[in-house]
Amino acid sequence: MDGFTVTIWVVRILFLLLLYLFLFGIARALLRDLRAAAREPTLELGRLVVVASPAGEPAPGSTLPLDAITTLGRDVNNAVVVDDEFVSTEHAVLTFRGRTWYVEDLNSTNGTFVNGSPVDGVAPLGYGDEIQLGQVRLRLERVRR
């Protein structure tokens, strides 16, 4: 076996090894994600009950799950799509920070209300409180175990 043949085969095998190194790196990243997801089970932070919804979207009486950040508005890309003529495209956002829920009005045309009082910027929201966008009323509730 001469030097050239050795070199070229070392390089060739190195190439194949690098392909597997890439796959290995991905596998490791996937495992890490899986372990992270397993370690922090998703807490159900809260949910919205639809109290009143004259237009029917969201369905009255239904319960909507909430993420740490939940957008509300008329646009289809919102997490909660509210189809009401008095609701803006991007109307409000509900966030969970630390241990409390907050609702933020996104400069909507007709405003957002918590238990009847208008929201100016950010306002805290408690379990049992009702928010209103346009003609639609939603109540924040705890998740029962």
Binding site: F4, R12, F15, L16, F22, A68, N77, R97, R99, G126
Partner: protein, 483 residues
């Protein structure tokens, strides 16, 4: 609850949801891209060594065509940088995986004789690798642009019938106006530019199906028509399924494109199952497929030829079965480790042993040069792309996005499966391309669109805000003591 506002200090600066762009590091993507870059450089060095005369002293270990290499790696780096600057939390594995596939494609095109394809631009002649590099760059640029720019899926979600109409129009245009190559009407040419609309059609099909199925999902899941012991989809919804089947058969007969027909029907069936979760639909679809295939075999000549060649290509090894036989010979020559990049594909009277190797048989060439070990790695990379796409679908916010992402992943994965299986004589050979590896502008651009859309869909949105910082133990005790 306090009415005077949050007890935590200051209205926390909440990053706006659709707010200004803030750069964010993407370490995982960077690490993977580094491995990709090193792999491609090493592959290029291996190619250069093979292309040198065997008795020349191994002076330097320089890569083949360093210019192509630099451009390609530069584009990958720029794509990474662009996504870092855009700051969206999109998937970090897709771009490196696709980048590696593209790099392997580039190495393969470098290795093949450059005069297989010649495009003249002004007074320069561009060879095979040059043209492929151009398309790769455009494809990655397109994918990155879509990943950064596409924020809303409204334009896909709301206009599904428009999309369907556009798809049908495209199909009809190809039927009527297409140029015939090898008996297949697949290409539309407008002046110097030509493309294969069937590539774009598969994306349009997925968009339409995602919209249609997500809209009618509950109906399809809950209702059914019973025919004896079998439950079929509700009759009004059975119609589109049969229509889909009929279109697939039409494509086979009129366009003689078995690969596209198979791809469309398979993707349709898999998306139908994803949306409804009812295996009965898949069984029905498979029955339709078997019946259709049998009828096609009896009636249509070119289908019969393809199936006969598949069953025994060695019966006519220098005539009809030549391509498949040579493909199998190539795999056999590769063995476990392959012959090394540039070391395989012995010429017959100065020509490559496998015709149309850069479009239809890149896997056979890679099988010969990288061996079984290399092929398994490449199949692994495709599985990674599919897995990412399906995971984006599983984590999606609503049904439309879930089906869209899954469908896009399937379109790449099923296509790769079909052509790989054809090269390996597991199913009859079809003329579709191997995504990201085959030569072909339309294929690369459309697959770039697919990856771009997947990246856009994978945006995890804004990070959940961190919980407000707890004051230290002592400070808490102090506060409690104070009141």
């Amino acid at each position: 609850m306090n009415a005077d506002g949050p007890s935590t200090p200051a209205a926390p600066a909440l990053p706006r949801i659709l707010g200004p762009i803030r750069p964010r590091p993407r370490w995982r993507e960077a690490r993977l891209l580094a491995v990709v870059a090193v792999a491609i450089v090493v592959g290029s060095v291996s190619l250069a060594l093979a292309q040198r005369a065997p008795d020349a002293p191994p002076g330097g270990l320089e890569p083949a065509e360093p210019f192509h290499l630099a451009v390609y790696l530069g584009v990958l780096f720029l794509a990474h940088l662009a996504q870092v600057l855009a700051g969206r939390r999109t998937d970090q594995i897709l771009l490196p995986a696709v980048g590696l596939l593209g790099g392997i494609s580039l190495l393969l095109m470098e290795r093949l004789p450059q005069n297989l394809v010649v495009q003249t631009l002004g007074d320069t002649d561009l060879g095979l690798a040059d043209v492929q590099l151009v398309w790769l760059v455009l494809s990655i640029a397109l994918a990155t642009t879509l990943a950064i720019v596409v924020r809303s899926d409204r334009w896909l979600r709301l206009y599904k019938y428009t999309w369907a109409a556009a798809g049908v129009a495209l199909l009809l245009m190809t039927f009527v106006l297409g140029t015939e190559i090898n008996g297949q009407r697949l290409t539309l040419s407008f002046g110097p530019v030509s493309g294969q609309p069937s590539e774009l059609l598969k994306v349009i099909l997925v968009v339409f199906l995602a919209g249609y199925l997500s809209e009618n999902r509950s109906l399809l899941v809950e209702q059914s028509t019973r025919v004896g012991p079998i439950s079929l989809p509700p009759l009004p919804y059975l119609a589109p399924m049969v229509a889909m089947w009929a279109i697939a058969l039409g494509i086979v007969v009129v366009q003689r494109d078995l690969g596209a027909a198979l791809l469309f029907f398979a993707v349709f069936l898999l998306l139908l199952y994803t949306a409804t979760g009812r295996p009965g639909y898949v069984v029905l679809g498979l029955i339709l497929f078997v019946v259709g295939a049998f009828v096609m075999y009896q009636l249509v000549d070119h289908v019969r030829t393809r199936v006969d060649i598949w069953l025994d290509p060695f019966a006519d090894p220098s005539g009809a079965g030549y391509q498949v036989v040579q493909s199998l010979y190539a795999f056999a020559r590769g063995g476990l480790l392959g012959t090394g990049l540039g070391g395989g594909l012995p010429l017959i009277s100065g020509r490559l042993p496998i015709p149309a190797i850069q479009t239809d048989f890149p896997l056979a060439a890679l099988g010969e040069e990288l061996g079984l070990i290399g092929i398994m790695a490449i199949l692994g990379i495709y599985l990674v792309v599919i897995e990412r796409g399906l995971r984006i679908g599983a984590a999606a916010r609503d049904d439309f996005r879930a089906l869209l992402a899954s469908g896009l992943a399937l379109v790449v994965g099923v296509q790769a499966f079909i052509i790989a299986a054809g090269n390996l004589k597991l199913i009859p050979l079809t003329g579709i391309t191997l995504p990201f590896i085959s030569y072909g502008g339309s294929s690369l651009l459309v697959n770039g669109i697919v990856v771009g859309l997947l990246l856009a869909l994978s945006d995890k949105g804004v990070e959940p805000p961190p919980p407000p910082r707890q004051p230290g133990r002592l400070a808490r005790l102090a506060r409690r003591a104070a009141g």
